[in-house]
Amino acid sequence: MEVRVRIQRYNPEVDEKPHWEEYTVEVEPTDRVIDALHQIKWFQDGTLAVRRSCLHGICGSDAMLINGRNRLACKTLVRDLGKVITVAPLRGFRVIKDLVVDMEPFFRKYRSVMPYLVNDERPPARERLQSPEERARFDDTTKCILCAACTTACPSFWADSRYVGPAAIVQAHRFIFDSRDQAWRERLQILNENTGVWRCRNIFNCVEACPRDINVNKAIAEVRQALITGSRGIEEPE
């Protein structure tokens, strides 16, 4: 089938402001948006800048605004979009070129919530054991691939880029509710700031945007609850 792909192009070295360009490509209905973009870049216009890596929806490189919603170009089928496909870079980040945005501020916020296991105790001879129930407590937030679809769909983040954003809260949640982790109080302290979880206005754009179907708003609500009660609902040793 023939589809028209409208792409928001911007080369800050040449262009004054972003503009739209339209391409016509021949694709199968079961092709993905990234296949259409490949066709354009490889056979029509090599100047198009687009970032992708694994092409299987797990590396988080090719999140972009497709037909008005943040999605992964490698996970969205052409047949679900119709004859006209509009593609624009993620909102709220500086555009480096065309569909490639500067993700560094996003990763800085990710690092700010200590997204790693902290445990000072001497590890047992084998694994640090955990019951299936304890593992299930944070299962949903382990699915995050750091594509930034949620954070760049969030009006609170658009309004104030100092807001830590849904993705960083999801990553903090993954460790706060891990029974093996000991730094959950520090993480809660970080998210208790003015730019932390209290900036969330429950708009639910993040839930709609997440290509991994994470219930982002629920994770944020659970972090807030932990802050209000001062407990993460896991029995602490000592």
Partner: protein, 141 residues
Amino acid sequence: MYPTTPRESGTFGARPRPAGGFELWSWYFMRISGAVLLLLAVFHLLWMHLVIGLDNITFETIVRRWTGPLGAFWRVYDLALLVFALTHGMNGARWVINDYVHRRGWNLGLKSALGVLYALLMLMGAYVIFTFQAPPTIVAP
């Protein structure tokens, strides 16, 4: 290398419990006051429109209400409405300023003005509620 004794660094888990802080309480207050306001405002609306009736809302009606046998109840009720509605609304406006005004000077200036307005309206309202007396022309029921 792993630390040789448990909890060697003493860094983690050493801080106080993470509850508390102004932003936390302001968020929590919004949930509570939102629920309280729903009851207060709905009752206020039903009472004024259905029980008293739209055409009967006059200065005299309010005077009689505040000075009548249930005067203390109505004054407390109106005070609660004032405190919750004003604080809830002003805190919402403070959030909006924090969200959208990023220049430090403007942010602080606007929030200071908001604080002054808040104090002024609160004092004026409370002053009236606490000190109001029926004018001699209107006889209390």
